[in-house]
């Protein structure tokens, strides 16, 4: 074995070097198995990279250590350059000197150098101990699993399907479309959400490269990039989807009326259901927790009316195993439950609803056929209060972060309400307005100027039921006055939180989440759709609150990352 080359870059991108490299060269020169090179400008530069290449080639070194303050950013580039000169990078490393600097006072360059030397020497010894590994060909499966079939997952799937790869699109709901299925219209264009979504869900369902695995959950994951084995639990639907023709008779005839999670508390559903008339796949499932047969042993009407005998109460969960090369996690979001907010009634006031429930009321296919009506008595509300920042921007009691989309969707809700109830008044309690997209600010101002929406700057301390009104105690900080409104209905823009079960899924995948459960990106600025684990990518609200335009962009980005990954492995299937 030859000498180990050590490239000492002391970095001065922030105006001063981080350590004194001469202290290291002094000590390293005494070892005859090490050849140090000091590079006094940042090595992450064209000339720096050239210098490293020249050093390796001229000194015929087969093992290199490079000191770096951002190895996650510069490392890959440096290694690529070395590989290009024929160097075997299994024996080299760009090491992170930040841990060595953590305990040193700024400006203590000599002290810092001692700590860095310690780190470098340990790495030299470790690298000298590396043995060449047997070259093995491992199969690289160029198939992708996308977990989450909302608009983000759908976007990524279509991109990858179009690029010619086989895509397995998994979702826990019976059909694809995610949260967008619940929406009525989207900002800032007020386009019909279903008109935007349905062509995409149909395209996905019809795409020859995309296989839908709905009503399923991820059971376990093992392996590594190119060779990931995923075990999936397909939940019992109690309907044989092979036989089912999607005629809808079972749903029509089902006698039950039960609370529906899809309707967010403002509408009822059936025990056997599809999520929408245009569901993809258009096959129903039975919710055994509310079905009269499963809970009381009675009914069986669906079985009786099904023309093809597709009902199967004996069905059990099944398991499948799939091998893929990469995974995209696009599990979306949920909303902070209003049932946990004491000052707003703990969810016990029927006319206090959340944003998604409002979308259901406004939807033509929703429980009120698109009419804005109070859940308590079906009357049309004339005094309509919207409250932003509910459980968001609240480090003391709830979530400290801003949920990003609420300013826009609340303005949208108020405008949609005014379009339907001309003699109603909409009030929006806000702290700031964050309208940072194309056409967003104009949308907000139009709502104020044309629809007469009254924005009241201040929070709502408390609201409670008083006969058939909801009394709202807020404040208008711009006049300084405490404000009381006897509202007919209140819509809470509650915080966006990650979907239920994401922490457990992340653990199975071996990827990180933050303290709130959002998936952690590999680098805050530069690697937003990467998880830090090769082959596993993130996209959409699973990574953090955002609106549809941004989730779609991330879906596209994750798909492009997978394509770049797959392109590196040219001679595999």
């Amino acid at each position: 074995m030859g000498r180990v080359g050590v490239v000492l870059c002391s970095c001065d991108l922030e105006g001063a070097p981080l350590f004194d490299p001469d202290v290291l060269t002094e000590k390293l020169k005494r070892r005859n198995d090490v050849l140090p090179l000091v590079y006094r400008s940042p090595a992450c530069s064209e000339s720096g990279v050239e210098a490293i290449r020249a050093f390796v080639e001229e000194s015929d070194l087969d093992r290199i250590v490079v000191t770096c303050s951002r190895p996650e950013l510069f490392g890959p580039t440096c290694m690529k350059v070395l590989r290009q000169s024929g160097h075997n990078t299994a024996f080299s490393e760009v090491i992170d000197i930040r841990p060595a600097l953590a305990s040193v006072e700024k400006g203590g360059l000599k002290e810092a150098a001692e700590h860095v030397l310690d780190l470098v020497e340990r790495k030299i010894d470790e690298i000298r101990g590396r043995v060449p590994s047997r070259k093995e060909k491992i199969p690289f499966t160029k198939r992708v699993m996308v977990i989450g079939a909302g608009i983000t997952g759908i976007t990524a799937s279509i991109d990858l399907g179009n690029a010619g790869y086989e895509v397995l699109l998994v979702d826990r709901l019976p059909s694809i479309g995610g949260r967008m299925l619940q929406l009525s219209e989207t900002f800032p264009t007020l386009d019909c959400a279903q008109c935007t979504l349905t062509p995409k869900t149909v395209e996905t369902g019809q795409h020859p490269q995309i296989r839908l695995i709905t009503y399923s959950e991820i059971e376990s994951v093992s392996g590594e990039v190119g060779n990931i084995l995923v075990k999936i639990r397909r939940k019992a639907a109690y309907v044989d989807w092979e036989k089912c023709t999607g005629c809808g008779l079972c749903q029509e005839k089902c006698p039950s009326k039960v609370p529906s999670e899809f309707e967010r508390g403002v509408g009822l559903g059936k025990a056997i259901y599809t999520l929408s008339p245009q569901a993809v796949p258009n096959k129903p499932v039975i919710n055994r927790e509310v079905c009269r047969f499963f809970t009381k042993g009675k009914c069986r009407v669906c079985e009786k009316v099904c023309p093809v005998g597709a009902i199967d109460y004996e069905q059990e969960d099944t398991f499948i195993e799939e091998r893929v090369g990469a995974i995209i996690v696009a599990t979306g979001f949920d909303l902070y439950p209003k049932e946990e907010i004491g000052e707003y009634g703990y969810g016990d006031v029927p006319d206090v609803i959340d944003g998604l429930a409002f979308e259901r009321l406004n939807s033509a296919s929703g429980p009120t056929a698109g009419e804005i009506r109070r859940p308590s008595d079906g009357h049309i509300p004339k005094e309509m209060v919207f409250i932003q920042c509910v459980a968001s921007r609240d480090p003391e009691r709830y979530m400290p972060y801003c949920s990003r989309a609420c300013c826009m969707y609340t303005a949208k809700h108020a405008r949609l309400y005014k379009h339907k109830v001309h003699d109603g008044r909409a009030y929006i309690f806000y702290m700031d307005i964050r309208s940072m997209g194309k056409g967003y600010e104009e949308f907000i101002q139009q709502g104020v100027e044309e629809e007469g929406i009254l924005y009241l700057r201040g929070r709502v301390s408390r609201l409670f039921r008083d006969n058939d009104h909801v009394v709202v105690w807020g404040v208008d900080t711009l006049t300084g006055k405490k404000v009381e409104i006897a509202a007919d209905m209140v819509v809470l823009a509650t915080a966006m939180i990650p979907s239920r079960g994401v922490k457990e899924l992340a653990e199975k995948l071996g990827i990180k989440t933050d303290e709130y459960g959002f998936l952690t990106e590999a680098h805050w600025k530069l690697y937003p759709v990467e998880s830090g684990v090769e082959g596993i990518y993130l996209a959409g609200c699973a990574q953090g609150p955002k609106d549809i335009a941004d989730t779609v962009a991330q879906g596209n980005a994750a798909a492009s990352k997978v394509q770049a990954l797959f392109a590196q492995y040219r001679n595999s299937s």
Partner: protein, 289 residues
């Protein structure tokens, strides 16, 4: 079962009806309130200034003496409960202040006495099921609005009494003694506290809001746990009438008076004459007395 009892400034005089009923009911329910042998006023406000250590001396002394006598300390007054419980926690957690206070009061107290409000004794140590079984005079679902006020509930991390937005202990108590609790939104709002002395017009408005909310929600009576709340919404109904002459008026009873009524105590012991808005017409009308 014996508890060390801290009466506070008002309980033996102006709030005798709260105190006597409380002690008698305790006997019926099988526990005893043994008055702390040497006590002073608690201060009636918890010092909110970070540098005010002097104001912690009175509650500290009360607690230190309770420690010497040994036992759990209890009180019938929400304000005393608040001051003593908060002082107890501060002494337990802030070693610097603890040392200064102990030096001043010349005692050595570590903050380890257990402090309970009488209602907590009823819930935790007696149990509402036992209470229900002990009822001798069925109150026939008398519609009573429980007024919590502020001192029992806040700050909730320190008082650990009940949920500060939707508490239920007082309602559970009322159900156990065969009353029908009336939920009303102002049950957790402040009665105005010492503003009945400082800015009486303001306190009058607070009382009006609370009482009219109770009446609007169908209450026949309101019940309190605090002599200050009692004064502000019972005695001050006179001022409320002067400003709002359409206000119908409603009797305000201490929770111990209701408890005593349900446990079958003789009516003289419940001292209804001391309540400024006479509850006797209501109770006679319901054939409870």
């Amino acid at each position: 079962m014996e508890y060390l009892y801290f009466p506070g400034c008002t309980l033996y005089t102006k709030a005798k009806n709260l105190d006597e009923a409380g002690r008698e009911c305790a006997k019926v329910l099988g526990f005893e309130l043994r008055e702390l042998s040497n006590w002073t006023c608690c201060g009636a406000t918890f010092p909110l200034a970070k540098d005010n250590i002097m104001a912690l001396a009175p509650p500290a002394r009360i607690l230190a003496r309770a420690k010497e006598e040994g036992g759990t300390l209890t009180t019938l007054c929400s304000v005393c409960f608040n001051v003593i419980k908060r002082a107890n926690r501060l002494i337990r957690e802030d070693s610097e202040k603890r040392e200064k206070i102990n030096t001043f009061i010349e005692m050595d107290y570590q903050g380890d006495v257990r402090v309970l409000h009488y209602l907590e004794i009823l819930k935790r140590d007696v149990g509402f099921e036992t209470l229900k079984a002990a009822v001798k005079r069925d109150l026939g679902g008398l519609k009573v609005a429980p007024f919590y006020g502020c001192m029992l509930l806040r700050p909730s991390e320190e008082m650990e009494f009940d949920d500060k937005e939707a508490p239920t202990i007082f309602e559970d108590f009322l159900k156990a003694i065969t009353c029908e609790p009336v939920d009303f939104p102002y049950k957790i709002e402040c009665c105005g506290a010492f503003q009945s002395v400082g800015a009486p017009e303001v306190a009058t408005e607070c009382a009006y809001s609370i009482l009219s909310s109770a009446v609007r929600n169908g209450a026949e009576a309101v019940t309190t746990t605090c002599p200050l709340c009692q004064f502000n919404i019972d005695s001050m109904q006179k001022e409320v009438h002067e400003k709002h002459n359409d206000f119908p008026g409603i009797p305000i009873l201490y929770f111990t008076q209701l408890l005593g009524l349900a446990l079958g105590l003789p009516v003289e012991k419940l001292d209804f004459g001391r309540n400024d808005v006479d509850p006797r017409p209501l109770l006679k009308g319901k054939e409870l007395i």
